[in-house]
Symmetry: C2
Subunit: 301 residues, 2 copies
């Protein structure tokens, strides 16, 4: 086995629900990738190291450095990595070391970013943005990171100028799965036309939003509207409300979107309908690129 | 025991979660009231009669007529009482009889009301409105019935002209108890100033709503804002969004509110802040008055 086939460090994206690990050689090659469902949400601080050892014992024989981003650095995580305060660089040069038992192991945790007025926070997205910037020199504009809690981030000269979080993904899940609408919303399926029509409705008349949600249930009771159409309509109403709220971010701006395909498509379609052309980057690739950027900063220190 | 102390009929408000029964004498006196948690949501059609007999066996010795309103008349209830279609009278003169085993017993179920465009439905509220009209002759205007699914109803000449449902109560519960905000929202407590300020924000800038919910979580993380203040702020944001949506109903109109005190107070305060003076009637009293109206119609048939 040559040095180039031996892991020398480990990249970790450790979120609330999941853990994703990459074994990386000294020339930056990704040798292997593994995932676990042991997310931060179910781990006490002293349970993180055993999970790491359990998933990556063989890698740890040669890799003694771990760089981790995400909720692993929250107050409920392995070690609290205090937020940087925007405006600030996304380059994670203020990492915090987690407590470990294993001799020679060092775990660096990337801090999140907070904003004081209006109050907002991110953890994990800053690393994806750092990865995007590492691959797109001198990129200025708006970055949208759709997900459970979608972030809209104004970037300028490598700094987070301001950002805004919308709970659209979580609202969709709660309404589709937990509310009275669950009786009328399909678990999957889609209709582009319905989605764009609903999005346009809340974009142009956002003040009507509160009165439109129950109408999804009523449409099925009164008109027997099919549940897949109602699923697309719920998504359109909610993403339309988000686009109305974040219009000062994206209107007339240079916009890039970082996300997995499934969660990105509705945003790309919705923004295109508003005349916004959006560059699209994969979330996992940007996370890995961002962790590599953080590791490179460690090397030069 | 005189005839006036003997139940001759039973009024039932049978909702999704609860059942409320009143024993009523031949001169309309309420002799007794009982409640049960055996709501429609947990009962198969053939389980309703045993629950009724279990709760009110002694009353049924002399009372052979039951008049019931609420979800008991839904497709999943004891018997489906098909919706009347608005515009229509709230006087429940199209009751449906439920199937019963017991000799001599008759159970009449009050129908709900539906609207075709935009689609909407109510079940139970129509009876509260009928009760309100029976106590307020020639009343025209808007009736607001706050609750899990708040109704705004335009009444004219004893008819429901149109109505609109907002899921504000259910949204509040989902966000405060099931979403990421649950970590930051107190289970009780209040702050009038915070509530009215938040309500004013979404009333005047409803397009910002989607971006303001996560800020409740962030406010605690960044500024350590206390959870009771955040509870009042969440309520203010949501009721403000509802008032923005229903403005065509209440602006410049004669408004009455039917509801229990706890659920009514935020609406009364919010509407007062918008310069709307609102009459307030108790929901339980209006339900009973409405069921009495329905029973009186039976008597005259």
């Amino acid at each position: 086995m040559t040095a180039n086939q031996t892991p020398t460090w480990i990249a970790a994206d450790w979120g609330t629900s999941n853990l994703r690990l990459w074994a990386i050689s000294n020339d930056g090659t990704v040798l292997d990738m593994r995932t676990s469902e042991k997310g931060m949400g179910q781990l006490a601080p002293d349970a993180f190291e055993p999970v790491l050892v359990d998933v990556a014992a063989d890698w740890l024989k040669t890799a003694d450095t771990v760089v981790a981003c995400g909720m692993v650095g929250s107050r409920q995580g392995w070690v609290e990595a205090p937020y940087q305060t925007a405006p600030c660089s996304v380059c994670p040069n203020t990492m915090v070391k987690a407590a470990v038992q294993r001799d020679g192991l060092t775990v660096h945790v990337v801090p999140g970013i907070r904003q004081t007025d209006p109050a907002d926070v991110m953890r994990g997205e800053e690393t994806q943005i750092a990865g995007f910037l590492s691959l797109n020199d001198d990129w200025d504009g708006i970055i949208c990171l759709p997900g459970t809690h979608t972030k809209w981030v104004h970037m300028s000269a490598g700094e987070v100028v301001s950002f805004q979080t919308c709970m659209t993904g979580e609202m969709f899940s709660l309404l589709a799965e937990e509310s009275v609408l669950r009786h009328s919303i399909a678990e999957s399926g889609w209709n582009d036309g319905t989605f764009l029509e609903a999005l346009s409705e809340t974009m142009s008349r956002p003040e009507r939003m509160a009165g439109q949600l129950f109408s999804l249930r009523a449409a099925q009771l009164v008109h027997d509207t099919d549940p897949q159409t109602l699923r697309a309509r719920l998504s359109g109403l909610l993403i339309g409300a988000e686009l109305a709220s974040t219009k000062p971010y994206w209107l007339g701006q240079n916009v890039a979107l970082i996300g997995a395909d499934a969660v990105s498509q509705p945003y790309l379609a919705g923004l295109a309908a508003q005349g916004v052309n959006v560059a699209h980057a994969d979330a996992t690739e940007m996370t890995l690129a961002g962790i590599k950027t953080a590791h490179a900063i460690l090397e030069t220190e």
